[in-house]
């Protein structure tokens, strides 16, 4: 794999209209970072966690509302607040 792809994974084949999708990528100086992304609900409770792909990407199927994304990479933790809605994938680029 070379370089980071803009945005989250390809949505081909995903039922975007009926899902509430939060996705994006984790990069450092424009290069993908291998690490983990956690999804925390409004109360700060852990909801899910995924490893980033070889291209630094991640995706969650959530529900409409406010969420926190927490990127965990060696030596660093970065939080991002997002608002998700059904039918439109939210794209989140996390630079660490």
């Amino acid at each position: 794999m070379c370089g980071a792809k803009a945005g989250g994974p390809d949505l081909a084949g995903v039922d975007v209209a009926n899902e509430t999708i939060i996705q994006g990528s984790v990069t450092r100086d424009g290069e993908p970072v291998n690490g983990y992304v956690r999804l925390l609900d409004e109360g700060g409770e852990f909801t899910a966690e995924v490893p980033t792909s070889a291209t630094g990407q991640f995706r969650f199927f959530a529900r409409p509302g406010k969420w926190t994304l927490r990127a965990l990479v060696p030596g660093q933790t970065v939080d991002r607040q997002v608002v998700a809605s059904q039918g439109t994938a939210v794209e989140v680029a996390i630079a660490v």
Binding site: V14, D15, N18, E19, N34, G35, Y36, R38, L39, D41, G43, E45, F46, T47, A48, E49, V50, P51, A54, R59, F60, F61, A62, R63, R70, L72, V73, P74, G75, T77
Partner: protein
């Protein structure tokens, strides 16, 4: 039983990478993670292909487990160290199988693959060759497995611990948030269950919290550790991690994992279901 009998840290594993009687086994939710890289000399168990009956909904039987471990080169007197992603979610599930079929010495790598990666420890792509063994399993130990009728009988009497995320418990989601949500069963939870998400057992880096923190967590949520407990989730993996915490770390005697879990219970006709949070 002490913590170190069931849980080892990364330094312990690092020092034993070349010990032929210590078998390191990766079990990941993402079964392709091993192909990318893994801890040196680790073998893979695929939770989908290796641990499930290929036709009916059940896990592999005693003969199947014997064949699997023999093929993987695991002997009855080997120390097996399991690790995986997602805070050892599927590694805990495999641990439960090893106990169910009576393996003597099995442990989890604290923090699993994530902690190993966050520590920037070495991962390799070479697949080790282990000569086949003739593994002998014990008959399945049903004292650590719950079936649907056990769960229904436990409503209002035993501890029921629902380890899914709050949104799955309350009925807002039917699956963990990294999986598509289309499902056929009804949302909600078993009446009288307490919602203690499995992830609360672990620190951010995937290591387990201390025994004192874990005890405090369950007691604060109204789980009487002197009463028998059934843990469940969606398909029995996350609850295997909670089973590990209650039975193996905290030493609670009668804890069962309900591997039918919500995909079974939420599809049963006529059973009681509760919606909303605790």
């Amino acid at each position: 039983m002490s913590r170190s009998d069931v849980l080892v840290d990364a330094d312990w594993v690092q020092a034993r990478l070349d010990d032929p009687k210590v078998v390191i086994v990766e079990v990941d939710e993402d079964t392709s993670a091993y192909d990318k890289n893994h801890i040196r000399n680790a073998v893979r168990i695929d939770w989908k292909k290796d641990l499930q009956d290929p036709v009916r909904r059940d896990f592999i039987d005693q003969a199947g487990f014997e064949a699997l471990l023999s093929a993987k080169g695991i002997a009855n007197d080997d120390t097996v160290v399991l690790y995986g992603g997602n805070n050892n979610w599927f590694a805990s599930y495999a641990y439960w199988y090893f106990k169910l079929y009576g393996h003597g010495d099995v442990r989890l790598l604290d923090g699993g693959r994530k902690k190993w990666e966050l520590d920037s420890r070495d991962l390799v792509s070479e697949v080790p060759a282990r000569p086949a063994t003739e593994y002998t399993a014990q008959p399945a130990d049903s004292s650590i497995r719950a079936f649907r009728d056990d769960v229904i009988a436990a409503i209002g009497t035993l501890n029921l611990v629902d380890v899914r995320s709050p949104d799955e418990f309350s009925g807002k989601l039917l699956a963990p948030a990294h999986l598509p949500q289309e499902q056929s069963q009804r949302p909600g939870h078993v009446p009288s269950a307490r919602n203690i998400p499995w992830a609360k057992n672990a620190n951010d880096d995937g290591t387990f919290k201390s025994d004192d923190e874990l005890k405090a967590l369950y007691e604060a949520e109204g789980v009487d550790l002197a009463t028998d407990t059934i843990a469940y989730c969606r398909i029995g993996e996350r609850s295997a991690l909670t089973w590990f915490v209650l039975h193996e770390l905290l030493g609670q005697e009668n804890v069962k994992n309900y591997d039918g879990s919500w995909t079974e219970y939420g599809s049963l006709v006529g059973v009681p279901i509760e919606l909303g949070s605790n």
